[in-house]
Amino acid sequence: MTRGPFLVGGLVLAGLAAGSLAPSLGPETNPPTRVTGMEAHETQAGASLLGQFRTTAAAWMYLRADLYLHNGVEMRALTDAERRSGHHGVGGGEDAHHNSDKLHDDSSIVTVVPDKDEDFRGIFGDIERGTAAYRDMKGHDHNDPSTVLPLFRLTTWVDPSFITGWCLGAMVIARAEDKGAVDRAIAYLQEGRRANPDSIEIVTQIGTLNVARKADIAEGLKWLEQARSIARRQDKKTTLSEAEAAVETYRWLALVYKHQKRTKEQHAAAAEGLAWVPDDKVLKRLAK
């Protein structure tokens, strides 16, 4: 009797066993990664080529969200050479004050299709400006961010570890003017927290929404302290965006304690935050 069938059977069983154990590798091979705006083009190889489907699809959809906000006009970050030569981005428009909500920084982005006076291509450039979704974006405004909410929802469904999708999506939900908007935003973030229990950013945002939008200091403090424990556990060994979120956590904690006149806790939170970013002006002021 040949050994072939037994060998094949053994290999199949080994493959099945490996497959059943593979998910345990998930946190190592697929750690939650954040893609921030145009950085996706540089940090997510999968966004440019092919990669793991979920992260790739989520990164691709996030880039599309940026595109949707600009109604199809492709934007890019200024190159180092352009910054050195004094080029400026297109800047925000009437709703420039809204851009502080980190949708993106318009001051450092320009259109991918260049303006006529900066285009060496002559007739080819004119044709492209006629066929592509292009217009002069100086002083532009954005489409209503709520139009990209379904996309954020789809992004987090495809890749629940895509933290930006949860946080930005919640921000957009909370912008709505009806009474239940903040509760819906918090519910959305809670779903994100269940998928990403160690995300400082998500937990911090739950806390800040409670404090700033619902005036529920006790509830907000509970979540901010939870974010603080996660930050302590991670001990600065985290992504850049999570580190930024950690600093945000300490700022809010210090502010809340200051509001409650709990000076000792205020100083402790500020000091802990300064260990992350020593020259943060807000924390320095709160640490005094």
Partner: protein, 257 residues
């Protein structure tokens, strides 16, 4: 040029495509599109209209390019490999007639496949109440012009290299068209003294991304492209096709078979 011969060659390319079941690939892709849209329907497309249109245009663009490149890169080499070229050339047709006939046949197959995909996509989207504006018609026309340029590139390259090398290079040139253009723009910003060289290189490289009106078709409140732009695209298409098919003929006319 013998139009009768060219017509017969075009018919031959289409029949060969059908026999080789290339258009079955389109049918399978079409089925996948319908299945995907059905899946989206389960989740609801409310609020996702732009995303769905975006996805549709991306898929249409990619699949039509794949079909055009693979068809155009094979029409000549297959004839040579199968030795069916000899009886063809034994007839009173010139190598130029043959090349033009094969080219038009490749374009016809690409257009048929593209239009079939457009039809299936339109049915899928309309079923979900997602509508396209008039600019979509411009998108279809411009895309067809673009496919004609792509077929010319594939055919020309297949005269100089193996079908696999020709397809690879064609994909690089077509799918990388935007990347090359942006790279040249940035290089020009860094080295203004060399702008003349970048301009020449930009003119030589195929500008297939110019034929993509997907951005205007997908997003809202975009007017159709001006008429002069469409006329310029048509002019560019004719010039570029003439140049590339001509380049291919320069090689093919002297090629030992």
């Amino acid at each position: 040029m013998k139009l009768v011969a060219v017509r017969a060659l075009v018919r031959g390319v289409i029949l060969e495509s059908v026999r080789r079941k290339d258009l079955w690939v389109i049918a399978i892709l079409g089925f996948l599109i319908l299945a995907a849209s059905g899946a989206l329907g389960l989740f609801g497309v409310k609020g996702l209209e732009i995303f769905v249109k975006d996805l549709a245009v991306t898929v249409l663009g990619l699949f039509s390019v794949i079909l055009a490149v693979l068809t155009s890169c094979r029409v000549l080499p297959d004839e040579i490999r199968n030795k069916t070229l000899y009886p063809l050339l034994a007839r009173p047709i010139s190598r130029l007639d043959l090349l033009v006939g094969k080219y038009i046949g490749a374009v016809a197959v690409s257009w048929l496949g593209f239009l079939a995909l457009v039809g299936l996509t339109a049915v899928a989207l309309l079923a979900f109440g997602v509508h396209f504006d008039l600019v979509m018609a411009q998108y279809v026309v411009a895309k067809m012009m673009g496919l004609a340029v792509i077929c010319a590139i594939g055919l020309c390259l297949s005269a100089y290299m193996t079908p696999n090398a020709a397809s690879t290079l064609s994909f690089l040139l077509v799918l990388g068209s935007t990347v090359f253009t942006r790279a040249l723009q940035m290089a020009s910003a860094e080295l203004p003294s060399m702008t003349w060289a970048f301009r020449a290189l930009n003119a030589a490289l195929p500008q297939t991304h110019l034929f993509d009106l997907g951005g205007r078709a997908v997003y809202v409140n975009w007017s159709p492209a001006p008429l002069w732009v469409m006329a310029a695209l048509a002019g560019y298409m004719m010039l570029y096709v003439a140049a590339t098919v001509g380049l291919g003929w320069l090689r093919f006319r002297r090629q030992a078979l």
